[in-house]
Symmetry: C2
Subunit: 491 residues, 2 copies
């Protein structure tokens, strides 16, 4: 199955390359980093908690179906597996090398890889431009080798890539889990905390298409990634953490093209001069003025968020829900106060409160007078009706049917001992047979963490994005509306 998927994607990925100049096609083809048929893990292999043996174990866990070779000149085998002294002695083709060793050894290894015909190398090793002058020199050396030989380099100082569709994972850290859910969210970052070891990707109900830690970006950069993901049919939404941009002109050009097809959400630190200084020393690059970034990003249709958490939480709404047609928000709330908290963020993201039709208001009035209007406050209805479900069901039905509402925020209360499937069931019932084009996001709260978490999981398994922070829920809808606008402007 994975194999079939892979070939399918390879075909797609090769197609657009023809349209580009030959050199461009070669420079941007990142297939070996995400769909290698064979991998050589080179360097530190023995430790059970960091290095090549861990990578190997991660690959096994995720069900990687390709060939994997271990390379280290110091020992002939580890845990019964043959270890080659040099990548060049591996008897068959190697698509991808994962290099986990001290920085000084890297240039020679990269050269060997290039001579072997390895197409790409993930350089996990640190101690390059991010460290000191010596490291900067070493980084220049490997870039030179890449230019001479055509081998592509990811990193250095990276944990590499993940492709849940083929079971590929290059991380040298243990993840503690056995699978990553397949889905449409591509995660790209200039830090290892995007990696499989950092977040509970097994628990997250929205699936992942690709993960990539760009880190030092000595060769492969954010624009290459965008071009790769543009044509990756598994990727529906791109979430990107950027510390800087390597080639601004090309990035903006490509971003504009890709943004027409897929939403690109960007979190870029560096709002303050203090953090710009720190950025310079982290990956050895100079970050430009933040306002210029913001303005340029906006012009080419990137959706900008302000924190790492937002990057994930906004992306998931795109993964779960359709885009809204317009900006008219409906709010169904069990608490008048919560409804109001949502409005500030909504307004800041360009949403307005939809004005319900008279028919809708009449239907709501029939259930309970306080439910009339938008936000529809169902709180007072509950004690009166002695029934927590009817007010939810009726109001959601009315809002989904009303032509003056484009998207919906529901605040859900997880009362003690709520069956985890309760809300999911009736949300599904409501949409049965008539898939809606109105995105729904949910804020959930209640007195039991356990119940809240279980309901979240059930909702997200059914494609309803659930949030523990009401502002974040609204922000996600706002970002979706922003993308609706971007699409209509760009195309």
């Amino acid at each position: 199955m994975a194999q079939k998927n892979k070939e399918h994607k390879l075909a797609i990925n090769n197609e657009p390359s023809k349209k580009r100049s030959k050199n461009m096609a070669v420079r941007s083809d990142l297939t070996p980093f995400f769909e290698p048929k064979s991998i050589a893990i080179i360097g530190a292999i023995k430790s059970p908690w960091f290095g090549g043996l861990v990578t190997l174990n991660n690959l096994k866990n995720l069900g990687y179906g390709g060939r994997v070779y271990l390379v280290n000149p110091s020992y002939p085998e580890v845990e019964g597996i043959k270890v080659y002294p040099n990548v060049k002695e591996i008897p068959s083709e190697v698509d991808l090398a994962v290099i986990i060793t001290s920085s000084r050894a890297v240039p020679e290894i990269v050269r060997n890889c290039a001579e072997k015909g390895v197409k790409g190398a993930v350089i996990v090793a640190d101690g390059f431009a991010e460290r000191d002058e010596e490291g900067t020199k070493l980084q220049k050396q490997i870039v030179e080798i890449s230019k001479q030989t055509g081998i592509r380099l990811l990193g250095p100082n990276t944990i590499g890539t993940v492709n849940p569709y083929t079971g590929l994972i290059t991380s040298p850290y243990p993840t503690g889990y056995k699978s990553i859910r397949k889905g449409g969210v591509a995660l790209v970052a200039q830090t290892g905390i995007i990696g499989a070891q950092a977040f509970p990707f097994e628990d997250l109900q929205y699936g992942i298409s690709k993960i990539c830690d760009l880190s030092n970006k000595c060769d492969v950069n954010e624009t290459d990634l965008l071009e790769y993901l543009e044509n990756d049919s598994d990727t529906k939404v791109i979430a990107m953490h950027l510390e800087d941009v390597k080639d601004g002109r090309r990035f903006l050009e490509v971003a504009r093209r890709v943004a027409k097809k897929k939403p690109i959400i960007v979190y870029k630190p560096g709002r303050t001069s203090e953090s710009k200084k720190a950025l310079a020393s982290h990956t050895g690059s100079i970050a430009g003025d933040h306002k210029i970034y913001q303005s340029a990003f906006r012009q080419v249709g990137l959706i900008q968020v302000n924190s790492f958490v937002e990057l994930f939480q906004v992306a998931k709404a795109f993964a779960y829900q359709p885009l809204p047609r317009g900006n008219r928000l409906g709010i169904i709330t069990i608490s008048g106060g919560a409804g109001i908290m949502a409005i500030d963020t909504a307004t800041e993201w360009g949403l307005v409160l939809g004005k319900l039709s008279d028919v809708s208001n009449e239907k709501l009035f029939e259930v309970h007078p306080t439910m009339v209007g938008n936000p529809s406050d169902i709180g007072p209805a509950m004690p009166t009706l002695q029934d927590p479900i009817t007010p939810y069901k009726k109001s959601i039905e009315v809002f989904l049917e009303d032509k003056n509402v484009d998207c919906l925020l529901i605040t859900l209360y997880a009362y003690p001992e709520t069956p985890p499937e309760l809300y999911t069931r009736f949300l599904k019932d409501l949409q049965f047979g008539k898939p809606t084009d109105k995105p729904v996001v949910i804020w959930i709260y209640g007195p039991s963490n356990d119940t809240v978490n279980k309901i979240c999981k059930s909702l997200e398994a059914a494609n309803y994005p659930a949030y523990l922070d009401i502002e974040l829920a609204v922000k996600a809808l706002g970002a979706m509306y922003q993308y609706t606008q971007i699409k209509s402007k760009l195309t």
Copy 2:
């Protein structure tokens, strides 16, 4: 025990009243709302999931030690408990009434309460100024009764108060748990989602001193609450959600006075004209210009946050940790990228990166060269040393000892199968015998939700505030530094 506590506090609360004018003391004495010796629950009593029977059950769960009476003219008993037809027929004194009935019945009940000598009434009933003209009239009627008779009114449309120290709870909703941790955080809001039914107060490691839902504020308002909490020895920090301010001049005067003694954190929606409109219809009041609020709040020393989640998450840092002496932040990070994410928020809250002493840098260098400096990046040290603990321990020790650091952010990685107590133990070890005056906040991440949650709980049980959002962790430190400045300016 609860009884003893109560008397102790009553003595404290009465003391400062003497210093005020007699009238002021009477108007602001909210003791009956938080420390009543006896309660009458009036109105809807029978339902097992909303109303007086639930309130009674909540009181039992939290161990309320005072007398509780039920009042309803329609039946003589419920579940074997005597029900009085009228509050006036209760044979002994009643400090507090909790009125859960239709709005039209409320004026007469309030009058009866006043005649009985009840000192305060929590009006859970809705359908007042927040609803319609008739409700506005009814609200005016009860305010009139309050003015004539001196009975104080909380609400209407409120779930009332909680006092974990005496087991008091007036909420008509089931909480699903048996206790609320006692502590120093007072929560005040103009919405029921502050209530015991809304958040897992049993799980939260920072304890609660008082909870109050102000709602319509027909009588008791935010300023009364501030005056009460000013002298409540259990309250160390006040977190307040405000939709509007009833008497601006008095509020600012009192807020300035209280802010000298205790940090007051405020979240006020209404940044946009859309939400101001909604505010007007929620509690029937007109919200003024947000910028004027912001500026006035700043002048009197209120710490302002931008969301409901922040209100809780910033308050908890004050509850757990000492105030910083200055604004020099230390960052210990396992990820260079994460360290940088922290700096933007830090700068925006007035924090700067402390410059470590040469001695400190030498000590860090001894462990691993990458650890030198601030942020101290301990990530690269871990694979090298094959030891995740030493880099943490050493760097934390160095930062706590360095005189150029006033406060500390630690990013903790919960690697798979981390024992939940691991970090807590060594943090405790480091501070053993030498309590520090440097606040520490922690951002934690990892591939298992379960492990992360367990470590959070362990850390917070040991008074280290833990966050799943790095910006929020820094914001909490920033708010603490802001309060250090406020204290030095106001006093």
